[in-house]
């Protein structure tokens, strides 16, 4: 079995289980505040790490390329409260434009 299929099947099964665990097992009980505080920070920590690696990592080195320029423009769009679609389109257009010029 290819690495892709292993990843697809395991991630799919795990995600289904993660989403279903609370509703099936815990019913109406509330999460302890401490646990929800730590788990609630998973999303910002992981998304920030993905922003950093996908903009500045190439293989196993750090680079500053068109993706970084796209991210900078996207950050301006986010600060201006632009819709998600606009944020990603301006980032892609910036990178594509810079690549077309060079």
């Amino acid at each position: 079995m290819s690495a892709a299929w292993i990843a697809v099947l395991v991630v799919g099964a795990a995600t289904i289980a993660i989403k279903a665990a609370g509703p099936v097992l815990a019913g109406e009980r509330e999460l302890p505040v401490g646990a929800s505080r730590v788990l609630g920070l998973l999303a910002p920590a992981l998304l920030a790490a993905l922003v950093a690696t996908q903009a500045f990592a190439s293989e196993e080195s750090l680079v500053l390329d068109e993706r970084g320029a796209g991210l900078a423009v996207a950050a301006v769009a986010v600060l201006m409260r632009a819709p998600l679609l606009v944020v990603v389109v301006v980032a892609a257009a910036t990178a594509a434009g810079l690549r077309a010029l060079t």
Partner: protein
């Protein structure tokens, strides 16, 4: 996404309360998520294109959208595999990314009804967008959650199919700047989460860990290690004078949206009506 669930309390004594009442019903959920459909289709398509470019194959790409149904985790798998990472690294990164759905589903647990199998299936419609859209000040609207989730599911899978079909006819996704769309997408998803200092600290620490480890570890590991940043949630002073303890506890509870309405000082959006 942009709709941070800063749900406004329904004014009880002002004019026309029925116009301020958040919409309910399956169709309301579908309507609420309609503006997102182009983006969902586009990103489903770009997942399909990039999964093909990473060598995942058409069937595996379609199967992943049907079962995982979570953009950031799926893109993480593609990026780890595409960068030459192992299946294990991709799985760990994706599962950790989706771990947030555990507490989110728990918070909305009473939305899902019926026997275990039905609950398992209904809970799959919980994603960031349907969760945020159906949030009613800490409680969740069942029909909005399921209506919004169903349209997102259809859009995401249709988009993936389009991307898989178009993938062969498209050139290198980098020519279109699609690789730059990823960090922008994650930034746009991250921004609404940065409502507290603790969340900002977790985000900065997570990015710092990931960048520091990139040159010295295999692909995938920096993102996994960055999850340690969520432990900043524990790094709060625990020994306080008894008088300050109650206030500090409420301040911390501000990290958890469900509890922000408990105290007027924290319930900024509601101060007009309180």
């Amino acid at each position: 996404m942009r709709f941070v669930p800063e749900s406004k309390p329904i004014p009880s004594d002002t004019r026309k309360p029925e116009r301020r009442e958040p919409a309910t019903g399956y169709r309301a959920g579908v309507r609420a998520v309609l503006p997102l459909v182009p983006a969902v289709l586009a990103f489903g398509a770009s997942f399909g294109v990039l999964a093909q470019a990473a060598g995942m194959g058409a069937a595996a790409s379609l199967a992943m959208s049907a079962t995982t149904f979570a953009g950031s985790a799926q893109f993480a798998v593609v990026s780890v595999l595409g960068a030459g990472g192992t299946a294990a690294a991709a799985i760990v990164a994706a599962v950790l990314l989706n771990a947030r759905y555990g507490p989110m589903a728990l918070a909305a647990a009473d939305v899902f009804r019926g026997g275990p199998l039905r609950r398992v299936l209904e809970a799959q419609l919980l994603v960031d967008e349907s969760w945020a859209l159906s949030n009613r000040d800490g409680r969740f609207d069942r029909q909005v959650m399921l209506g919004a989730g169903a349209l997102l599911y259809v859009g995401w899978n249709a988009g993936t199919a389009i991307g898989v079909l178009a993938g062969d006819s498209l050139a290198d996704p980098a020519t279109l700047g699609l690789d730059a769309a990823f960090p922008a997408l994650f930034l746009a998803l991250l921004a609404p989460l940065l409502g507290t200092r603790t969340a900002v600290a977790a985000a900065l620490l997570g990015a710092g860990i990931a960048l520091a480890l990139t040159p010295v570890t295999p692909a995938g590991v920096p993102v996994i290690a960055a999850t340690a940043a969520c432990l900043v949630g524990l790094a709060r002073p625990r020994t306080l004078p008894a008088a300050a303890r109650a206030g500090a506890a409420d301040g911390r509870a501000g990290d958890d949206r469900r509890r922000t309405s408990a105290r007027p000082r924290d319930a900024r959006p509601g101060e007009a009506s309180s």
